[in-house]
C-alpha cells in the first residue's frame, strides 16, 4: 500500500499531508493581519472570493513565528468543509510513500512536535514528517499543549 502525500518544507524539515486533504497550493498572497487573534493565526487571505484563514504552524511547532510581511507559500487544506491555508517555506512534490517506510515518532521528540506529527516516513536521504492537520487547525500553541 502506498499513500500519496503533498510535501512541503518548514524550517528545513519536510512535512507531508494526505493529498486528499489538500485543496491547492499557492504562491504568496497578501494577508490581512488580524489583531487580537491567537498565536498561529497569520491573517486572512482572499481565495477567489472566499475569506480563508491562514495559519503559521511555526509557533505550534515550537519555532519563532514568521514575520507579518514574510512572503511564504501556502498549502490550502480543507477540513470539515472549511478551507484553511498553511504557510510553508516551500511546496515540494507529491510523493507516493510506501507504508513500509512508516514509523512512529521517536520517543525523544519534543511535546510540541509530538502533538502535530503523527509519524515519520523514512525516505532516501531524508525523513518525511506526517502532519496531523486537524490538530494543527485546533490552534493550540506548543507551550499550552505541553502543560
Amino acid at each position: 500500500m502506498t499513500t500519496q502525500l503533498v510535501t512541503f518544507e518548514i524550517d528545513g524539515a519536510t512535512y507531508g499531508v494526505p493529498v486528499g486533504l489538500v485543496q491547492e497550493t499557492l504562491g504568496h498572497q497578501p494577508r490581512t493581519f488580524v489583531p487580537l487573534a491567537q498565536p498561529g493565526v497569520a491573517g486572512l487571505v482572499n481565495l477567489r472570493g472566499q475569506v480563508v484563514l491562514t495559519l503559521d504552524l511555526r509557533p505550534m511547532l515550537g519555532l519563532e513565528p514568521l514575520a507579518a510581511d514574510a512572503e511564504a507559500m501556502m498549502v490550502v487544506v480543507k477540513v470539515d468543509g472549511e478551507a484553511v491555508s498553511l504557510l510553508v517555506d516551500a511546496v515540494g512534490e507529491v510523493l507516493d510513500v510506501d507504508d513500509a517506510t512508516y514509523e512512529a515518532v521517536p520517543d525523544t521528540l519534543g511535546a510540541a512536535m509530538r502533538a502535530l506529527v503523527v509519524g515519520v516516513h523514512k525516505l532516501d536521504g531524508r525523513l518525511l514528517l506526517l502532519l496531523d492537520v486537524v490538530a494543527a487547525l485546533a490552534l493550540q500553541p506548543a507551550e499550552e499543549r505541553a502543560s
Binding site: F33, V34, P35, A37, V41, G43, N46, V51, L53
Partner: protein
C-alpha cells in the same frame, strides 16, 4: 416511500402555515362572530388538515380536527354563536394540532401527543347544546354526537381500519385510501385529501345518522362513509359514523375529486352515486382562488436561496473590482460595459434579496393569539392594532426578531397596560390599545410596539437601579428621563420577582437587546408616565450585504457597519493636540459642548499607534451610549458583503465578520457593540467610572470615593474598603440604646455619621447617602453628606494630615480632599471592625462589590 415522505413534508409545511392563520382568524372571529368569511376560512383549514391526516393515516390528528370541524359546522350553520369558551376550546384544538404536527415533524409519528382531553372537551361543548342529531345514546364518542357532519373523507380513508385513533377516530374503509392516492397526485395543486367524497354507508347502526338532510342542503353534497370497522365488534361505542362531505376545502381539481369518488364508491356497498358528481362543483369555487396563487408562486428550498445570495455577493465584489479598475480606463466601450454590469449586478442583488424577504406579518400573525390569552389571563381588555404587516425583512432576521417581539408584546400586556378599572380611573378607555407598527426608515426596518398604558416611571427605575447597585445617586441625578428609562436594558436590572412592583417593566429586556444586537439591530424605549410606552426595534434589512464605512487604522482597513455610525469628526494636525482633553487617563472630545469619550482603535486592537498627522473620530452609537472611535483615516462608504469568520477567530470577540475590498484585500468588520462594551467596561461594571466625565480609571492609582462633608469640605474614602453605596430614608435609622443602627440586608449595622467624627454640618431632612463597609462578618453604615464621585487618586499635591480621623490631604480636581483614616473612623462605630479575624480573604469584598454591581 420517499414519495410519502415528501407528501408528509408538504403537509407539515402547509398545515403549519395554515395554523398561524387559524389563530389569527379565531381571535378575529371572537370579536366579529358573524363573519362568514372568517368561519369559512377556518373551516377550510381544519377540513384540509383533517382530510390529509386521514389520507396519511394520522388518526389522532384526524380525530382532533374532526370534532373541531363538527363544532365549526355548527358555528357556520348558525346553530351556535361564537363566544369565549368556544374560542378557547377551538384554540386549544389548534394548539393540539400544532403539537401533533411538531411531533410528526420530529419523529414521523403522531404517538405521544395527548389528544383525548381536547377531543372530550369539544365533544362536551357539542353535547351541551340540544342537538337532536346528537342524541345517540349508544354512541357517546365524539364523532357520533354530530353525526350528520361527521365526515371522514373517504379519500382520506385510513389504510388500516383497525388503526389506532383511541378517541374514536372515524374509521374508514381501506380501499379508498390506496385508490385515491394516485388520483390525488394527478392534481398537485390541491390538498391531497380534499376530494372528500365518500364512500357511502354500509348499513350499520350509524348509517341512519347520515340521513339528516337539513345540512345536506346547505352544503353541496354529503355522502356517508360508513366504516365497517373491526372496532364495531370490539367496541361498539366507537362505531364511527361517518359522513363525508365534499367540503369547500376540496380545493381545485374537480377531476381528482371525481376520480376519487367513484373509487370510493366502488368500494362501498351502498353508493349514493348521485352525490358524487355533485361533489366537485362546490369545492371548485374556493379552490379557484387558490389555484391561481399556486400558478404564480412556487416553493423554493431556502438553501438554494442562500446559495444564490452568496453568489450574488461574489458578483457584487467583482463588480466593485471592475468599477475600481475601469475608473481610470479610457476605453469608452469597456466603461459602458462596466456600467451596465454594475447596474445589472445591483438589480440582481436586489432581486435575490427580495426572494428572501418575507412580510413581518409572518411573525405578527401569532400576536393576536398571544395578546388575547394574556389579556384574558390578566383580566385586561386589549385592542391590538397592527400596521405595516406587509413590511418585508430577510427571513433569517425575521426568525431572529420573533422572540424579542413576542417578549415586548407580552410585556406590554402584562405590565404596560392597566386593568379596565385602573384605566377608567385614569380617564382612559377601558380597553388598552396596543399598536404594532412596521415601516422602513433609513435603510432599516423599524418595528414599534406602542401601548397607551401606565408608562415607565423614571423615578422608580432610578430607585431600582440604585437598589441593585447598578448606578450611584450621582449618576442617576445626572441622567435625563430617557436615559433613566433606558436603564431597563441593563443586564441585571430586572429579575422576575421584583420588577413588577418597581417599574412594572423590564423583565429580561437585556435579553431583548442582546437578541437585537446579535443581528446588528438596536432597541430603545420612549415612555411617558400615564400616557404610554413605545419600544422601537431597528432591524437591518439583510445580514448578507450591508452599507459600511471603511476606515484605516495602522496598516489595515476596517469596516464599520453604517448602522452604528452617527457622524464623523475630522481633526486636523494643528488642532489635534488641544482638542482632545483628558479626564483622568481617559481621552474625551468636546462635541458641541458635550464630552464624548474617545476610544482609539489602535488601543482596542493593541496595534502600534500611528504617528499620522491627522485623525478622524467616528462617532458611534452602542447601547444608547455614544463614543468616539479614533481612526487614522476614512476611506469610503460602500456596500460590503459579509463573510463569516473562521471559528478560530471568534474568540477575539472584536469582529463581526470579514469582507472583501474592491482591490481584493480582506478587511475585518468591527463589532461595534463588543468594542464599546469592552472599552467602556469601566462604565458598565464599576460605579467607579460612572460619574459622567470619568470614564476609565487608570489601574495604577488608588480610587477614592469622594463625599461631601458640607458645602465646602470634601473627604475621600479608599474605594477598596467600600462594599456598597446606598440612599436611605432617614426614618430607617433607629436608636438602640444611645447608638444609631440600621437594619440592612438581614443584619443590624452600627451607623456612623462622618460629620460627627470629622466635623461638618449634620445631615438635613432628605434621603441620606450611606456608604456601607463590610469586612468579614462585620459591617458599618457610614452616613455622609453626599456622594460626589469616584476618582483616581493620582494627585501629586498632597501632605500628611494632623487632624483626628484623617490620614492625609490630597488635591483632587482642584479641591483639597481629606482622606479618611478608616481604622480610626470605623473603629468609632465598631471597635472590632479591623481587629476581627477575617474568615474570608480581603479580595472577597471587592468581588462582592463588583458582582453586586454587575449582577
Amino acid at each position: 416511500m420517499e414519495g410519502i415522505d415528501e407528501i408528509v413534508r408538504e403537509f407539515l409545511i402547509e398545515s403549519t402555515e395554515n395554523l398561524d392563520q387559524l389563530d389569527q382568524d379565531l381571535v378575529a372571529l371572537e370579536s366579529d362572530p358573524g363573519s362568514r368569511e372568517l368561519l369559512g376560512s377556518i373551516f377550510r383549514t381544519i377540513h384540509t388538515i383533517k382530510g390529509t391526516s386521514g389520507f396519511l393515516a394520522f388518526h389522532a390528528l384526524e380525530s382532533v380536527t374532526h370534532v373541531g370541524e363538527s363544532l365549526l359546522v355548527e358555528l357556520r350553520g348558525g346553530e351556535r354563536q361564537m363566544d369565549q369558551p368556544t374560542t378557547d376550546v377551538l384554540l386549544e384544538m389548534v394548539d393540539t394540532v400544532r403539537a401533533i404536527l411538531a411531533r410528526i415533524d420530529e419523529s414521523g409519528t403522531e404517538d405521544g401527543v395527548e389528544t383525548a382531553g381536547v377531543v372530550a372537551r369539544i365533544q362536551r361543548m357539542l353535547d351541551g347544546t340540544p342537538e337532536p342529531d346528537a342524541a345517540e345514546p349508544d354512541i357517546p364518542e365524539p364523532d357520533a354526537a354530530e353525526p350528520d357532519i361527521a365526515e371522514p373523507d373517504a379519500a382520506a380513508g385510513a389504510d388500516d381500519p383497525a388503526g389506532p385513533a383511541p378517541d374514536a377516530a372515524p374509521v374508514e374503509g381501506t380501499a379508498p385510501a390506496e385508490r385515491t392516492t394516485p388520483a390525488e397526485r394527478t392534481a398537485p395543486a390541491e390538498e391531497p385529501a380534499s376530494g372528500a367524497e365518500t364512500a357511502p354507508a354500509t348499513p350499520v347502526a350509524g348509517a341512519s345518522r347520515v340521513t339528516p338532510r337539513r345540512r345536506t342542503a346547505k352544503r353541496a353534497a354529503v355522502a356517508a362513509a360508513q366504516a365497517p370497522a373491526p372496532q364495531d365488534a370490539t367496541a361498539p361505542q366507537d362505531a364511527p359514523a361517518a359522513t363525508a362531505t365534499g367540503a369547500p376545502a376540496a380545493t381545485g381539481a374537480p377531476a381528482a375529486a371525481a376520480t376519487a369518488a367513484p373509487a370510493a364508491a366502488a368500494q362501498a356497498p351502498a353508493p349514493q352515486a348521485a352525490q358524487a358528481p355533485a361533489e366537485p362543483q362546490r369545492p371548485a369555487s374556493p379552490g379557484a382562488v387558490r389555484a391561481g396563487t399556486a400558478e404564480t408562486s412556487i416553493r423554493v428550498d431556502v438553501e438554494l436561496l442562500d446559495e444564490l445570495m452568496r453568489q450574488v455577493g461574489e458578483l457584487v465584489i467583482v463588480r466593485n473590482q471592475i468599477a475600481q479598475s475601469t475608473g481610470q480606463d479610457t476605453d469608452p466601450e469597456l466603461l459602458r460595459s462596466a456600467q451596465r454590469l454594475s447596474t445589472i449586478a445591483t438589480e440582481l442583488q436586489e432581486g435575490v434579496m427580495k426572494t428572501r424577504m418575507q412580510p413581518i406579518e409572518h411573525v405578527w400573525s401569532k400576536m393576536p393569539r398571544v395578546v388575547r390569552d394574556l389579556a384574558n389571563g390578566a383580566g385586561k381588555q386589549v385592542e391590538l392594532e397592527m400596521v405595516g404587516g406587509e413590511t418585508e425583512l430577510d427571513r433569517s432576521l425575521l426568525e431572529a426578531v420573533k422572540d424579542p417581539l413576542t417578549h415586548l408584546v407580552r410585556n406590554a400586556v402584562d405590565h404596560g397596560l392597566e386593568t379596565p378599572e385602573q384605566r377608567e380611573a385614569a380617564g382612559k378607555t377601558r380597553a388598552g390599545h396596543l399598536t404594532m407598527r412596521a415601516y422602513h426608515a433609513g435603510g432599516q426596518v423599524v418595528v414599534e410596539v406602542r401601548d397607551d398604558g401606565r408608562g415607565i416611571d423614571p423615578e422608580k427605575v432610578a430607585a431600582k437601579a440604585l437598589q441593585r447597585g447598578l448606578r450611584t445617586v450621582e449618576q442617576l441625578d445626572a441622567m435625563s428621563v430617557t436615559e433613566l428609562q433606558s436603564l431597563v436594558f441593563l443586564p441585571g436590572f430586572s429579575t422576575a420577582e421584583t420588577v413588577t412592583n418597581v417599574s412594572g417593566r423590564g423583565v429580561g429586556m437585556d435579553v431583548v437587546r442582546a437578541n437585537l444586537e446579535e443581528i446588528g439591530g438596536q432597541v430603545d424605549v420612549e415612555s411617558e408616565v400615564g400616557v404610554g410606552t413605545v419600544w422601537r426595534l431597528q432591524i437591518p434589512l439583510t445580514l448578507a450585504i450591508m452599507p459600511a464605512l471603511t476606515v484605516v487604522s495602522g496598516t489595515e482597513i476596517y469596516a464599520i457597519p453604517q448602522v452604528s455610525l452617527l457622524e464623523l469628526v475630522a481633526l486636523d494636525t494643528a488642532r489635534t493636540a488641544g482638542s482632545i482633553e483628558h479626564v483622568g487617563a481617559s481621552e474625551v472630545y468636546r462635541l458641541r459642548g458635550e464630552l464624548l469619550p474617545l476610544v482609539r482603535l489602535s488601543d482596542v486592537l493593541r496595534t502600534p499607534a500611528s504617528e499620522g498627522s491627522s485623525m478622524v473620530i467616528a462617532v458611534l452609537r452602542a447601547d444608547n451610549q455614544r463614543f468616539g472611535l479614533v481612526v487614522d483615516r476614512v476611506l469610503n462608504t460602500e456596500e460590503i458583503v459579509v463573510k463569516p469568520l473562521a471559528s478560530q477567530l471568534r474568540a477575539a470577540a472584536t469582529y463581526a465578520g470579514a469582507t472583501l475590498m474592491g482591490n481584493g484585500r480582506v478587511a475585518l468588520i468591527l463589532d461595534v457593540q463588543a468594542i464599546a462594551r469592552r472599552a467602556l467596561l469601566a462604565d458598565l461594571v464599576e460605579p467607579a467610572g460612572t460619574v459622567q466625565q470619568t470614564l476609565a480609571q487608570s489601574q495604577s492609582s488608588r480610587d477614592l470615593l469622594v463625599v461631601a462633608l458640607d458645602e465646602t469640605r470634601r473627604a475621600g474614602i479608599p474605594l477598596d474598603a467600600v462594599t456598597r453605596l446606598e440612599q436611605i430614608d432617614p426614618a430607617r435609622i433607629e436608636l438602640a440604646g444611645h447608638r444609631e443602627v440600621l437594619r440592612y440586608r438581614g443584619s443590624i449595622l452600627p451607623v456612623l455619621r462622618l460629620s460627627s467624627v470629622l466635623g461638618g454640618a449634620p445631615a438635613g431632612d432628605g434621603p441620606l447617602d450611606v456608604v456601607v463597609f463590610t469586612r468579614g462578618s462585620r459591617s458599618v453604615a457610614m452616613v455622609v453628606g453626599a456622594i460626589v464621585e469616584i476618582v483616581a487618586d493620582a494627585s501629586d499635591e498632597r501632605r500628611p494630615a494632623d487632624t483626628h480621623g484623617v490620614t492625609e490631604l490630597v488635591s483632587l480636581g482642584g479641591r483639597v480632599t481629606e482622606v479618611v483614616d478608616l481604622p480610626v473612623v470605623l473603629g468609632a462605630a465598631d471597635p472590632d471592625y479591623f481587629s476581627d479575624p477575617l474568615a474570608a480573604a480581603d479580595g472577597d469584598v471587592d468581588a462582592e462589590l463588583l458582582m453586586a454591581v454587575a449582577s
